[in-house]
Symmetry: C2
Amino acid sequence: MISRPMRAFLAALALAPGAVSASGPNEAVRAYRAAREPEILAELMELVAIPNLASEEGDIRRNAAHLVRMLARRGISGRLLEAPPGPPAVYGELQVAGASRTVVFYAHYDGQPVVPEQWTTPPFEPRLRSGAIEAGGRLLEAAALVPPFDPEWRLYGRSASDDKSPIVAMLTALDALAAAGVTPSVNLKFFFEGEEEAGSPNLARQLGAHARLLAADLWLFCDGPVHQSGRQQVVFGVRGVVGLELTLYGPLRPLHSGHYGNWAPNPAAELAGLLAAMRDGEGRILIDGFYDSVRPLSPAVRRALDGVPDADADLRRSFALGRSEANGRLAERILAPALNLRGLEAGEVGERAKNAIPTIARASIDFRLVPDQSPAEVRRLTEEHLRRRGYVVVADEPDGAVRRRHPRLVRMQWEQGYPALWTDPGLPVSRAVLAAVEEAIGEPVVQVPSLGGSLPLHQFHESLDAPLIVVPMVNHDNNQHAPDENLRLGNLWRGIEVYARLMARLGELWTRP
Amino acid sequence: MISRPMRAFLAALALAPGAVSASGPNEAVRAYRAAREPEILAELMELVAIPNLASEEGDIRRNAAHLVRMLARRGISGRLLEAPPGPPAVYGELQVAGASRTVVFYAHYDGQPVVPEQWTTPPFEPRLRSGAIEAGGRLLEAAALVPPFDPEWRLYGRSASDDKSPIVAMLTALDALAAAGVTPSVNLKFFFEGEEEAGSPNLARQLGAHARLLAADLWLFCDGPVHQSGRQQVVFGVRGVVGLELTLYGPLRPLHSGHYGNWAPNPAAELAGLLAAMRDGEGRILIDGFYDSVRPLSPAVRRALDGVPDADADLRRSFALGRSEANGRLAERILAPALNLRGLEAGEVGERAKNAIPTIARASIDFRLVPDQSPAEVRRLTEEHLRRRGYVVVADEPDGAVRRRHPRLVRMQWEQGYPALWTDPGLPVSRAVLAAVEEAIGEPVVQVPSLGGSLPLHQFHESLDAPLIVVPMVNHDNNQHAPDENLRLGNLWRGIEVYARLMARLGELWTRP
């Protein structure tokens, strides 16, 4: 919900659309935006004001219907791609006479869950601030909104950055090109997913059902933040992931540690030893054969890595870290597979600690995968590693009889997971995207061979067999997935220019030798 | 509270006291008991019915006053040894003409906290059952109480076994000796502590203030259970203990494990490695020098150990264990020092797990000590062990600046702890106690060189400089410290005979060469 005075003020400021004169296509887009900041922001705020948890059917369909209206305003006939019981994806396309390539712009319109009490202002009442809350940014009232808006202003609200502003940026880019009389150089398709933050459980089915509709030469993912340095980045991949819950067993009931300790196996001590045999304190994975199928970094990846700015010292300071694992560079470390211990649990600590041998000890792990590893292979190698140490591996909760039978017993519960997906930065399509983005921003772009994080991009790749490249736009300190999510306005302005340039120039740059 | 019909019935059954004829002192005590089972049980039930949490001043003083009345009934002038703000100890003595040795009988009258909803019948409404609840024991109504009572019957109630029944056993032993015309062979002192289950915070002060009053040649501790096999045991020591809370630090806030994992140190992984470097999965402590000051087992201890029944296979079955650590015998394993991991905590596991690097990882440890280790030495060795691995050890919560400064940082919070106390089973006093108990039970006693558990017996030893020996009487499956605490009646009957025999014969056996 946008407050009434704010809505009135923005409406009053919005100019009637019309052609804008400027010296070149970049300048034309910038001038278009500069003349319509209140209007653009109003459109984003209207969208952010609609609650968007994927599992709330009424809310999520209000978003979808709103997106269809936003497409219609651009003359694009939007449609819903249904995949019950999940939310629909919103689809639209713009065929360009003479264009030989087709590019899909991807974004998602659903958002992470919210706990309203944890927010400074309500998550679905978008508000502008003079800066980030952490930096003392203060609320801006309607009367303060005199264009041009300060690019350091922030818009607060769930999905302001993740991932509604890219949708507004794409559609505004279309408007700006139209206003400047520039025809896109590629056929455009828009695919707005409605369940990304819920783990995309119905996506593969949705993509499979509409494979012909969604056929394209490139998927551009407009999601995620720019580099921590604030510089524009293009991301060529994501790591895969597979989760594991690991449980070791001690006595059936907690036993007095004095009377039985040193005799009844302590599952917490056993767990510590087992984990120490799987990963060392510097991140090296000790599971036999774990690195065997890791594809060596390509020359293009190595070159890209050299150009990634080094923010390591600042990050260490900000996180209060006295070191980094293996003294490595962040940009390079996230191109390796990783075993992350996300949780440990056994007995009790601190004031609740009892002098008892715990009955079970649990560890929660996420493995991050790189090409050419697969979740199935990681599972096989890990289980073999433990079997070689004398463990019997079970998937289900073992009863007393099973626990009695096996001196060493471990329960391993695997998530399904998915593999990594990397597009080589040296491919012609990759070079074309880089060139278009650099034309838009007028400086070298940060090439990120792969995010450290994971997205199920392999689903798109498997279903649609097209290269995928991520072109993010929002500020890195956007509190993604957390309370007080926000968008820095300057990032929206730049996003419009970047997406407009991609639409305008990709076809030409791509076909060039 | 005892139910009205039950009270009336027991009162009606109770015989008038009088001399009992029997063929010998053992038989006299047994016959005395057999003739007065309802009366003895009624006295215990009256005592158990008084709530006895040390911190509830009104309740705990009602217990103390009741004990003074119980002593008075035997012609002993009881007094309260005050140690504000703690509960009083109840003291009484019986000087015997011609006796040269003085023995203190120790028990405690306070009990563990209760959660009444977890009890099958209310903890302070003592009830009789035909057996253990776990074995299908059913409630006995007043009409069923026809002597002689089945020794397998159980009395349910908080402190029925830990530690009120030993008090009734001691005082009944006195009655039985008096009835048989047998004079104790030693001077007797009774010391009933009121805060044992609360950790005895005021005990050292209390003992120090009354050191002359409490002077003795032997302290007999009438607390704890008999051997798991059901056989009578005499226990010559306890292990010491010292607790440790150990904390490792990761990033100031949880970091995305994809974006920062493998680079930001993972404190949970570091903790696993650190614990694995302190103790292996077989209980061996890897801290440099940890075993250096461990006193070798004496010949008498080794002999005692040979006589301890082996219940290991049954216990493994009952606890659903597939092995025991180092394949060791329980009786021997608890004579070694131990590092028990009582808890682990970092991030989250299972459904609550997030793909994040935890900010801290915690372990809670209890060390069990044997002669001649001290808590101070264990602390020094453990901290040195970690310092050699590059850790800076701090006692307080480190702020961001401290965390930034040290690549390896560990917080160690130590409890005060206390050392072990072992009385050699080969000493003359030890042999006298063993001989008296064996005379009472007519079979070899189980000699336990030390409990695996810990009791602050060193406080008595330091304050009073007398040997200490534990002569327990209650059943091992008494649910001590848990809901449905209970006493097997047969154990009370045997306890009376054992304590009577100690009173009657210790002086004579002790002075024998």
